[in-house]
């Protein structure tokens, strides 16, 4: 019964870590999406910016996360243990994933439809919010699911620099050579990833009733 005992003895800490972990996974995705929308729009609107924007944002993803966690405090002037560092780093990764997704999502809106919208008298920004973005939701949501799940696993890495989240369970397990906290950490991470993924799926479904309309006249 070592599992239950371990959980029982550390329940306060573990639930705190789970809570932090959730926040550190969700907030960067939201921020990253908000930053990616205008960038993706620019990449779509001015075609020549597509290649550089997508390449640059893609390059961001190749920076090892541990390096980013270590460098960011000095760049941002924050304490090394400040969770904000992690939030910023993960926002960068989210942007890296989503710029291309947003640009491609907007590109997938049929020309007929955008032309018709302009011809109806939508101004460019109105058209973006009323027509293009809603139609791009399925594509953007698919990218968002990847970003959410990948963030949950990236957050765990931040434990190596001492940020309190579920990754701490791995550090402890490693130090004690004790597998119970490690397994608990994995299970909770997977459960969190699945839950957040589910949230994205449910919200997407609510936003896109039209994609489920049966295609029979």
């Amino acid at each position: 019964m070592s599992w239950l005992r371990y959980l029982d003895q550390n329940s306060h800490e573990i639930s705190l870590w789970l809570w932090y972990h959730t926040w550190l996974s969700v907030v960067p995705v939201v921020l990253g999406l908000l930053i990616s929308l205008p960038l993706g729009w620019v990449a779509r609107r001015f075609r020549w910016t597509y290649a550089p924007l997508v390449t640059l944002s893609g390059l961001l993803y190749t920076i090892p996360s541990i390096a980013l966690f270590v460098i960011l405090p000095s760049i941002l002037g924050l304490g090394i243990l400040d969770p904000l560092n992690v939030a910023v780093a993960l926002t960068i990764y989210t942007v890296a994933l989503l710029v291309r997704v947003v640009a491609d999502g907007l590109a997938a809106v049929p020309d007929d439809v955008t032309q018709a919208a302009s011809a109806m008298g939508y101004r460019p920004l109105q058209r973006l919010f009323a027509v293009e973005l809603p139609i791009a939701v399925p594509v953007i949501a698919a990218g968002l699911r990847v970003a959410v799940v990948s963030n949950v696993s990236l957050v765990a890495v931040a434990a190596t620099i001492g940020v309190p989240e579920l990754g701490q369970l791995f550090t402890i397990g490693f130090q004690l050579a004790y597998f119970v906290p490690i397994v608990i950490g994995i299970v909770l991470c997977v459960a969190l990833a699945m839950l957040l993924d589910l949230v994205v799926v449910v919200v997407t479904r609510m936003l896109t009733p039209w994609t489920r309309a049966v295609t029979t006249p």
Binding site: P110, D112, V113, Q115, A116, A117, S118, A119, M120, G121, Y122, R123, Q126, V131, P134, I135, T208, P209, W210, A213, V214, T215, T216, P217
Partner: protein
Amino acid sequence: MHARPIEQEVSRLIRFESVTKAYPDGTVAVDQLDLVAPSGQITVLVGPSGCGKTTSLRMINRMIEPTSGRIWLDDRDTSTFTPSELRRGMGYVIQHAGLFPHRTVVDNVATVPLLLGQSRRQARSDAMALLERVGLDAELARRYPAQLSGGQQQRVGVARALAADPPVMLMDEPFSAVDPIVRAQLQDEFLRLQAELGKTIVFVTHDIDEAVKLGDQVAVLRVGGHLAQLASPAELLSRPADAFVASFVGRDRGYRALQFEQAPPLTTRPEPTVRLGVDLTSVEGTRAVAEAAGGWLLVVDDEQQPQGWLDLTAPPTGLIDQAAVHRGGTLATQGGSFREALDAALSSPSGRGVVVDDEGRLLGTVTATEVVAAIEAQATTERDSGSRVST
């Protein structure tokens, strides 16, 4: 139909004043185009691919900006409007309808009224009325565009363009992507709607038959964006301006031009008939007359409306039913066009074209020879009076 500023009630005149569209690579899509689309009429732009017809259309609502020249809406230069302001006063229909896939049919139709600041409730109820007007069931209103057939989508596209009751309608090959039967229906309904609404319409097509059917005037453009001829459909068919127009207008144009020539009342001969549901043996006298006249007997219903011809060389046994009737012949309406009358005669298996009155009741029959004689008589009269056909 809707509350809107008084100034929009009137139709508008659209005038191209030496409009040119040239692209940086040197391609000239439209070259020095001068053209007037009169208010309340349908002006069709027709021509082969690359003749600049769509470019011309899109310059009207400034989806494309001219390189030089002006386009006037009545007495106002369109470049003095903001594009969105200009476009909200012009309905726009395109080939694949371009409906918003994420909005229901009724919300698609309500688009422009909502943009103009109308309340959602009002815009939706107007949209419902409009759907009915373009021949769509109210139960389709809650569906999404993907759930409609091509023809239905196109109807929604027309309804959406009409929703704010704009004085001007721009239509870019709106009926090209549907099958021929649906296309003919949509064209007929479009003409019926236009008869009620009297919009200023600029209509782009590559199909000369469509142009001739729908246009009050037809502008034939040639590749490079030159106006080759601007004329009424009848004049276009009877007097193409040059070899290009002649070849584009195509064959059979002498015959096709007959559709614009109203026939004077034709002298018909009485036709022996038999009623549907009667046994052939009970009308031996009629049968003998018809056999002497070539072996075809005309079948009518109780209202005297022609149903088709009965082949007496292979007469049905028992009662005459619908299945026994040959339906090859078309019907001509007295007072219709020469084309109708001639077609009725040519398509009839008996060689006698069936002429009916406005209620569809039999008046009698004419032969092709008689119709051609009438055509020649009318042409002679016109030549003598010196006034060539112009509609």
